[in-house]
Every structure is written in C-alpha cells, then in structure tokens.
Amino acid sequence: MRLLLVEDEPALREPLREGLAEAGYAVDVAANGRDALHLGLTEPFDAVVLDLGLPQLDGLSVLRRWREAGRMMPVLILTARDAWHEKVAGIDAGADDYLTKPFHHEELLARVRALIRRAQGLASPLLQHGALVLDTRSGRVSVNGQPVVLTALEFRLLAYLMHRPGTVVSRSELTEHLYAQDFDRDSNTIEVFVGRLRRKLPPDSIETVRGLGYRLAAPAAGP
C-alpha cells in the first residue's frame, strides 16, 4: 500500500512518516502544496494524509485540483484545532475523513486503514480469503488460525492483493504501490518476493496469470 503524506512541519512529518512506514506502508512525502499537487496527479496512491495549512498552495486547493483532475484516492485531512468549518470545507472539497490535531498515532493508522478498506468496498478490518486471514489493524497474517511471519515488503504485497480479491494485479502496478518514489525499483524483485510469499502461504494461494500479473487464487479451503 502506497501512501502520500503531505505535511509542512518537519517535526511532525518525520515521526509520521516513520510510523506509517513501520505499519507497513510505502510512504512518499511532500512538504508543500505544489509538490503534493504534482505527486498526487502523477503517482498512484492508495491513500493520502493531507495537512490543510501548507506553504505555496493550501491543502484545500490541492485537494480540489486532484478531484477536478479525476484523482479519486481516499484523502484524510488533518485539521488544526477543533474547527468545524475546516472540516466542512475539507469534506466539501472532496476529503473522505478528517483527523483533528493533535492525534494519537494509532488513531491515524486506524483512519488510514479504514479509508483504504472503504475505497475497496470492504467493510471489515479482517481481510479473509479462504484459509488466509489478514488483520489490517494488527498487521498479523494467519492460515487456518496459525500465525504466519512475514517481512514488511511481503506483508505489503499480500495486503495489496487481498484488498483486491479476484483481480489480476500487474507487476508494474505492484511496483508502483509497494515502493515509495525514491526507492530503487526493479520489477524482478517483485518476482522474488512473490516467490518467498508463496513459500509461506498454502500452495497455489497466488496465481501467475501469464503476461498479465498475479492474482489471489480462488479459496481452496474454508475455515
């Protein structure tokens, strides 16, 4: 899952970025409205955390221009103080949720998870695919109740697939959504990670669709 974090205050931005990365997201950051606008228009993000008070171009304008350009990724706005008029303006500009500063890190993670889930039309934080269960809240994966230990990138890969059950996901799409922009991308590494992930999951969990990409296989066994 790839996130865009837009926050101009470095003291807030860095801990947020680290926290989101720890939670398993590939995180791009923008420190001003112009960079944010550009990134949001050109890169595919699964969700955006957007501060409203930004230099160069304010958050509301950035959001409006994204929506006008047809960019529909879920956006969580951070509003200063408990100002309802900011929330109303933000939602009217196309935001999907708001979080009032200051907030607890867990609260931010919960909101982001919920936003991504909602965008995929999934109601429960527990993603289930046959014997495979992924808890988006805790980041735990289990097969038939037995916990499976995954690395951060393996987890990201599996989570992306499980948010899109039955859909073929191309290697390049995976590359775009699993790595932040400044990461050295190599689509061959995706193959390597898919290989490792396959070994940790029940056999044939992930299908290769020749020439197109990967897909979660139809559930082999129900719990």
Partner: protein
C-alpha cells in the same frame, strides 16, 4: 488621493461657506443701494428743474408785436445770468396755426447760454405736457432738459412757444460717485466685521472638538481612563459612544487577563506532572514505557485544557457584540455532509430538512458549528441508523434538537455526560469534552443544553440559544 484642503478641515469649510454668503449678500446690497440712490437723486434733480420751468412759464409774456418776453429780473437764480453756469433756459417758436411764420429756435435764451442754442429733437407736445431729454450743453457737458409748449393767446390762434429748461448733470454724477465710494467703503468694513465674527463663531463652535482631542491625548498618555468634562449636547452622544467602547475594551482586557490566568493555572498541573515524570525517569532502571505513558497522559490533559480555554475565550469575545447572526440551516447541512462522508460505510440516514431557511443564531457562526458539530458528531457515533437535526424559534429563543436512535444515556448518567472530561465509553474515540463544551458555550450565550430520551429510542440533545 488627497481631498482638497478645504474638504479636509471643518474650520475651512465653515469659513468658506460663510464668506461666500457674505460676499453675495454684500454685493447685492451694494448694487441695490447704489441704484436706489441714483433714482432718488435723478428724481430730485428733475423736480428742481420742473420748478424752474414752472417759474419761467409764469414769467412768459408777449409784447405788443407778438414777440415773447420774459422779465429776467424776476428770475432769482444767479446762474441764469452767469455764462455756461450749467443752468439754462430757452424759448423756441414752434409755429402757429395762422401760419405767418415758421419755427425758430432760441427766440429768447438765458444769458448763461451766451451765444449757444440748445437743439432739441422736434416733437409735438400737447398743452402742459412735459418732456425730458438728455443732450450736450454749450460746453459739451451732459445736460438734462425739460420742455413744455404753450400758446399765449390761444383764442386768437397766435404762435406756440416751446419753453426749455436745462441743467448740468455733472453735479448729480459727482454726488453719485461720492455715494458709491462711501457705500463701498462701509460695505467693505461691514464685510470685514462679519468675516471676523464668522471666524470667531467657528473658533468658538469648534472649541469642544479641541477639548475632545485633548481628552483623547490624555487618554492615550494614560492620564485618564475615560472621556469626561462638559461637552455640548451635540457632541455628547459621540463622547458617550466612545466611553462605551472604552468600557467594553476594559471588560475584554479584564476577561482576557482572567482567561490567560486560568489557562496558565490549568497548564501548570500537567507541567508539574511531566517534571515529576522526568525526574523519576532519570533513576536507574526506570521504565521507558511508563514514562511514555505518563507523558502521553499529561500532554492529552494539557491539550484538553488548551482546547477548552480557547473555546471559552472565543465564545466570551462574541458576547455582547451586536449584529452577529449565523444561519442555522446552512450550518446543519454542512455538518451532516461531513458526517455522511465520514460515516459513509454505515449509511446513516442523516436529516436536517425541516429547518426554516430564515432561522438564525445571534452569535458567531463558528460557535454554532462547534456546538451543533459536537452534538451531531456524538449522535452519529452512537446512532444505529438515523440522526435527525431540527430547529424552531419561539420569540427570541432558538431551539435546536438532535435525535439519534442509538442506545441513549441512562438518566443517572446524564449529568456525568455533561461533566468536563468524562467519557462514558472509552471505546469510542473522543476527548470527553464534546457535550461539556456544548453546554458551556450555550451557557455563555445565555442558553443551555439538556439531554432527554429521544422518541426515536436514542438520545435527544436539546440546545437552546438566542435567536437573531
């Protein structure tokens, strides 16, 4: 852009207007007086001349040969005899009805005419009729002439005679000029006096403004706290209004001081707790996780205090400011849009459709949003399927009702729900300030918040506020 100088000064405006009126009035008076005098002098001059003509007519006789005769000894004015004296008479023969002789000018003349003859335009006059002419005299000076024709022996059909008396106008002209000079001089003096009076009037009239200015300066220097002293009735409302602003300012400053003090005091407790935690953390074997938990707790506490006091400060500042109004329908709809988006996956039925568009809250729009927002937010957190916002106004009281169909609050717990910092359920996110803030804000506006069971099964929050 600078206004012209006269526009920027009250004194100049008043003075200019007065001077303009003065000039106009004095100029008009001068012209009228001069004309009146002129008429008067000319009339008197003509009357004098007519008296002379009457005298001459009375002295006219005819000798045996039918020639006119005037007994000059009986004409008393010495100017008749002094050559070119400026007073002349002359008798012309106009012609007779018998027709033995034609007209002839200057048959008889005063001695003062010497060898000159007055040439009058020919005109026929009825008996006794008087004519006036302006004509040049023997020495070229302008004359006013009066003529009259008579027939001495009308019965025999003898000749008619034209009697002319003329006098130099120079004297009247000199008198007129003297009068005009005097008039100009006195009107000028009058104008000067009036201008001085106007200046004094403006100075006296504007003096209270100067006093006011000095009062303001004293106020600025801190010598005085209010504008006082005797001012004219016209300026008193200004002074009263200014004093009211000053009082309100004092009030606001005092309140701000109290609030700053309250906030500082409220922040002291978490700060002290943090210092304590830091001290404890320095001991060997201190638990970092425990420190983090303590810091978190105290930061949250401080944050709550800051939020709380900021809101109070804003509501207090809005107090007593007349003319504030915020439409209710727009605020409610905006808030429901937010809730609809945020709780999208629960597909709640959110309604605010019964609110009359004219309903207005007499206060800050932000405070209305704050109160209604917290209530709607709370209702949406607990609602199972629906939240309804309705509003009515009875006289000056606005009644906002937020209903939900959630679990509601047991009567015993309602007071606790309104207490500051209480969270009845820690599993739903929130600061535990929402309802308490709504109540406090509403009370600052002279209203209140009541929690009741809703007909929909959940909680009903009733907010009363001043209507605009």
């Amino acid at each position: 852009m600078n206004a012209p100088r006269w526009q920027s000064s009250l004194r100049l405006r008043l003075l200019l207007a007065t001077l303009l009126a003065l000039l106009l009035a004095l100029g008009l008076a001068g012209v009228m007086l001069s004309r009146l005098f002129d008429e008067q002098v000319t009339r008197q001059f003509a009357q004098g001349l007519q008296a002379q003509l009457d005298q001459l007519t009375a002295r006219l006789g005819v000798d045996a040969d039918g020639r006119p005769q005037v007994d000059t000894r009986t004409l008393s004015d010495p100017r008749w005899t002094r050559p070119y004296s400026g007073l002349y008479w002359q008798i012309d023969r106009v012609g007779d009805r018998g027709g033995d002789a034609g007209p002839q000018r200057g048959v008889l003349r005063s001695r003062s005419l010497w060898d000159a003859v007055l040439t009058l335009p020919d005109d026929t006059l009825a008996d006794g009729e008087l004519h006036r002419h302006d004509l040049p005299g023997p020495d070229g000076a302008p004359l006013l002439a009066l003529e009259r024709s008579v027939a001495l022996d009308a019965a025999t059909g003898g000749p008619r005679w034209r009697l002319v008396v003329a006098a130099d106008l120079a004297e009247t002209q000199a008198a007129r000029q003297r009068f005009d000079r005097l008039l100009a001089l006195s009107l000028g003096a009058l104008g000067l006096l009036l201008a001085l009076a106007a200046w004094a009037q403006v100075a006296v009239g504007l003096a209270p403004l100067r006093t006011l200015q000095q009062g303001l300066a004293a106020l600025q220097d801190g010598h005085r706290a209010r504008l006082d002293g005797a001012v004219p009735a016209e300026v008193q409302p200004l002074v009263d209004g200014f004093n009211r602003v000053l009082d309100r300012n004092d009030e606001v400053v005092a309140r701000a001081r109290t609030q700053a003090g309250n906030l500082a005091h409220a922040i002291k407790t978490p700060l002290a707790a943090l210092a304590q935690a830091a001290h404890a953390a320095r001991r060997p074997g201190a638990d970092a996780a425990a420190l983090a938990a303590q810091v978190d707790e105290q930061v949250a506490l401080a944050q709550r205090q800051v939020d709380w006091h900021l809101k109070r400060a804003r509501a207090a500042a809005a107090q007593g400011r007349p003319g504030l109004r915020a439409p209710v329908a727009g605020a409610a709809e905006g808030l429901l849009r937010v809730m609809g988006r945020v709780h999208a996956e629960r597909a709640l039925d959110l309604r605010a459709d019964g609110i009359a568009p004219g309903l207005q809250f007499a206060g800050e729009a932000q405070d209305l949003q704050e109160m209604l927002g917290n209530l709607v937010d709370n209702a949406c957190k607990w609602a199972r399927t629906a939240v309804q916002v309705s509003a009515t106004a009875e006289g000056r009281v606005l009644r906002l009702v937020v209903d939900d169909d959630g679990p509601g609050i047991a009567p015993a717990q309602r007071d606790a729900a309104l207490a500051r910092g209480t969270r009845l359920d820690e599993t739903v996110p929130g600061s535990g300030l929402g309802l308490a803030i709504v109540q406090e804000l509403a009370q600052l506006y002279g209203g209140g918040l009541a929690l009741e069971p809703s007909p929909r099964g959940g909680l009903r929050a009733v907010l009363t506020l001043p209507a605009a």
